[in-house]
């Protein structure tokens, strides 16, 4: 299949996520489980017949959510709840949340009360991910989670099942990373919007199915030539981001996103599970060692941020000329990191521009800001 066709399929899954999930249930007779944050251990779910789907933005004013979350809570989380209240997720067999930031926790809290969902689960993902103690604790937590899933699905999860689950996840991660690798080229064979759509699709579709498509994509992408100028090589960093109109706007006015750091982007798949006899421990290690969400990005004994080093490395590897820092309104984890990150990037000669996102972004107002930022990066053009 043509690369463009495959990317189109990912885009379709993203746009028709509900139809896809309902159809998946019909086809497989499996259960669909909704989740809010990327710290839920999908390996365990892929060891059995459960499809994990991430609740992503619906991008309309979350008016139904207002009686449950007043407007100091992040618009994205309110948007998630809003879709639940609209009944868009009526096909879910279960919903789960974890020790993420406080915003999705509000959405989950209201969801369990007001959106009829047969099963719900709270997964205690430790915050002190850099502490060896966390890995041990998380292993125990996974043990309990495995039991709960077994009880829910009525089937035992053996080591070979866990191996399969781990393999499905790792393969998916490896393939998406290979696609990202191609973006290092002078003229990337896919746009940032397309690349991120691939990741969104991976959070929405059966990874076994996506892996088959990804294998073909990795084979065909290198031959793909885009009829566009790459222009300024941009990196986009920040809160949850599934705002395709924004990405496309930026890539229509002289920029190309060549890399990102989002939980809806590279941060989701960057790290693999390193196999171990003790499968659950191996999974636990992966979630503690992965590139962290800012919320968990603090050391027990030092104030450095693991994520910053990673971002700086990405910027170098992908020859980034400028960084767009985006933040969901009221997103504390990123608000807490952005002033420091901005200083770090600028002191490394990488210009940044900051934008605050909501469920719908005023494209017009953002366009002029981004255009001016792109001009700033290429300003020499105007002067010599």
């Amino acid at each position: 299949m043509e690369a463009s066709e495959i990317l189109k399929q990912f885009s379709d899954v993203w746009e028709l996520r509900h139809e896809y999930a309902k159809d998946w249930k019909r086809r497989t007779g499996g259960k669909v489980l909704g989740y809010f944050c990327t710290y839920e251990p999908e390996e365990v779910l892929y060891s059995t017949n459960v499809l994990p789907v991430r609740i992503l933005g619906g991008h309309e004013a979350p008016t139904l959510a207002t009686p449950h979350m007043f407007d100091m809570w992040c618009p994205f989380s309110r948007d998630c709840l809003n879709q639940g209240l609209q009944g868009k997720y009526d096909y879910l067999d279960g919903i789960m949340a974890t020790n993420c930031c406080l915003h999705p926790r509000q959405a989950f809290g209201a969801w369990t009360i007001h959106v009829p969902t047969p099963w719900n689960y709270w997964f205690v993902m430790p915050n002190a991910v850099r502490s060896p103690r966390a890995k041990k604790f998380l292993r125990g937590e996974l043990e309990e989670f495995k039991k709960a899933i077994e009880a829910w699905t009525g089937g035992k999860i053996a080591d070979k099942d866990l191996d399969r689950g781990i393999d499905i996840m790792n393969t998916n991660r490896r393939l998406m990373k290979q696609v990202y690798e191609l973006r290092k080229a002078d003229n990337p064979p896919l746009t940032g919007a397309e690349a991120m759509t691939m990741v969104w699709a991976s959070q929405l579709m059966d990874k076994r199915e996506q892996n088959d498509l990804l294998k073909q994509l990795v084979a065909t992408l290198p031959q793909r030539k885009l009829e566009r100028n790459t222009g300024v090589r941009l990196m986009i960093v920040g809160s949850e981001n599934d705002d395709r109109p924004f990405m496309e706007m930026v890539e229509s006015i002289g920029g190309t996103f060549v890399i990102d750091d989002h939980c809806t982007g590279s941060r989701y798949f960057w790290d693999e599970v390193v196999p171990d006899k003790d499968r659950l421990q191996a999974i636990a290690n992966r979630y503690c060692d992965r590139v962290p969400c800012p919320n968990k990005d603090w050391g027990m004994e030092d104030i450095s941020r693991k994520r910053f080093t990673h971002i700086l490395q990405l910027a170098k590897d992908y020859r980034v000329q400028g960084v767009i820092l985006i933040q969901q309104k009221f997103c504390d984890p990123h608000e807490l990191d952005i002033p420091s990150l901005r200083r770090l990037l600028e002191s490394n000669g990488i210009p940044c521009y900051f934008l605050e996102f909501e469920v719908t972004v005023p494209i017009g107002q953002f366009r002029i800001r981004v255009e001016a930022f792109l001009e700033q990066i290429q300003a020499e053009e105007l002067f010599v």
Binding site: P126, R133, W298, M300, E301, D332
Partner: protein, 439 residues
């Protein structure tokens, strides 16, 4: 003619004195060769306070609140944090006060910003670990930093595994403390500190429990100034003594003699979250209608420890004496400390879902005989403002009228006093149908 007799608390000045001394000690510490540490109201102060020699802590939230009580100062500090450091305006208001204080190199209690020797923090909401991570950064990044995680699960899920997780981190904390201070942790001190922590946390709960009486011996406005000691240094012998041997007996005595916090009590209110500190006069305004704020999850369990008994009632967490426990050694002490905090601090339950908050606040509304609820939708603190709209619905389902008003515990730019009073007039005269009793 007033309905009940009333008088101020005898131990009031003692509370003020203890608070003043705390900040004074912190400021003066270096002159006395004492160590200084920064942490949070929820840090396990029993541990750093068990180091050899004299040690004084500064807890971030009460400090931020003190600044919040002075709108002019608060705006100056926050604009420094927002302008000079560049942080978002909607971050925790205490945190912005705290950062601003460092940016301006100004201590709200006089003098320059008193730099700490080390940081001993713990993390449960989005903010705590990052708060001092950045504070340290603003100060130049050379303050030894330790932070441990207490997000091990809701009180009803706490078992050995959860306690071990925290205790193991506490051992790491002890290694850290001994490494960076070159001082030893003294087990006798540690054991005593844990005892004191239990007394502070349990006797505060017992005092709150007494507020079920009609008339209420305490009103929230007063309670704010009382629980604060527990957010400063609940492991301190004087503070434990205050709760156990001064406050608790006095409140008991007030109940026995029907001494009311508000002479014309005619409506008992359930509150939530921190108030807008610069505007406590709103509570006085309510008193004109005989409205008394008698209870809130926040005031009860920010430092207080509670449990839900067999009958499903909310009761104070048992003290060590009541459990018949004598602490044997360091390990025993650390386990008991972790257990008390993880099982007893119900304030932490809402982090794991709205159903917990709804369950606890409805119990409070019933047991403390509340007639209505006034909820401060606090834009300044997400941790305490969790599930507030769900709470509104849950309390309304009990048949209680609920009023909400938006504000911010420590950012007066987000509080509209005129409008809030307009709301109160409507709620009080129309919804509650109350008349003014005093002026």
């Amino acid at each position: 003619m007033a309905k009940y007799k009333t008088k101020g608390l005898d131990c009031w000045n003692r509370a003020k004195e203890l608070r003043a001394r705390y900040y004074e000690d912190y400021k003066e510490a270096p002159n006395r060769g004492a160590l200084r540490w920064e942490g949070g109201a929820w840090s396990f102060d029993a541990i750093p306070q068990a180091l050899e020699g004299e040690v004084h802590g500064l807890t971030e939230e009460p400090y931020g609140a003190s600044i919040g009580a002075d709108p002019a100062l608060q705006v100056r500090y926050q604009e420094a944090a927002e302008g000079k450091w560049g942080c978002a305006r909607d971050l925790c208001a205490y945190l912005r006060n705290y950062w601003g204080s460092i940016v301006l190199n100004e201590f709200a209690f006089g003098g320059e910003w008193p730099k700490a020797d080390f940081i001993f923090q713990n993390h449960i909401c989005c903010t705590h670990a990052k708060w001092l991570q950045v504070a340290d950064e603003i100060e130049g990044g050379n303050i030894p930093y330790f932070c441990f995680d207490v997000g091990a699960g809701a009180y009803d899920k706490i078992g050995e595994r959860q306690i071990n997780y925290v205790v193991e981190q506490l051992y790491d904390g002890i290694d850290f403390l001994e490494k960076v201070t070159k001082r030893k942790i003294v087990d006798e001190k540690l054991i005593q500190n844990v005892k004191n922590t239990y007394d502070s946390a349990c006797y505060w709960a017992k005092a709150c429990e007494l507020n079920q009486a009609i008339p209420a011996p305490l009103d929230e406005k007063t309670m704010f100034s009382l629980y604060v000691l527990g957010t400063l240094e609940k492991s301190h012998k004087d503070i434990a003594h205050f709760y156990k041997d001064e406050l608790y007996p006095e409140v008991k005595d007030r109940v026995a003699n029907k001494i009311a916090a508000v002479a014309d009590e005619q409506c008992r209110v359930l509150g939530d979250s921190q108030p807008p500190w610069g505007f406590l006069r709103v509570f006085r305004y309510l008193e004109k209608y005989g409205i008394v704020s008698v209870a809130s999850l926040y005031t009860f369990s920010l430092i207080g420890w509670w449990k839900i008994d067999k009958a499903g009632k909310l009761v104070p967490y048992p003290t060590l004496e009541e459990q018949g426990i004598t602490i044997k050694d360091r390990d025993h002490a650390l386990r008991l400390l972790a257990e008390g905090e993880l099982k007893g601090k119900l304030m932490w339950a809402p982090f794991y879902g709205a159903k917990y908050k709804n369950d606890i606040v409805t119990k409070i509304a019933k047991q403390w005989k509340c007639d209505a609820s006034i909820i401060h939708l606090n834009r300044g603190c997400e941790g305490t403002a969790q599930h507030q709209m769900e709470m509104k619905i849950a309390v309304q389902n009990l048949g209680l009228p609920v009023m909400t008003f938006e504000g911010n515990m420590a950012d007066e730019r987000e509080f509209d006093e005129g409008r809030t009073k307009r709301f109160i007039d409507l709620f009080v005269t129309e919804t509650l149908g109350l008349k003014k009793v005093a002026d």
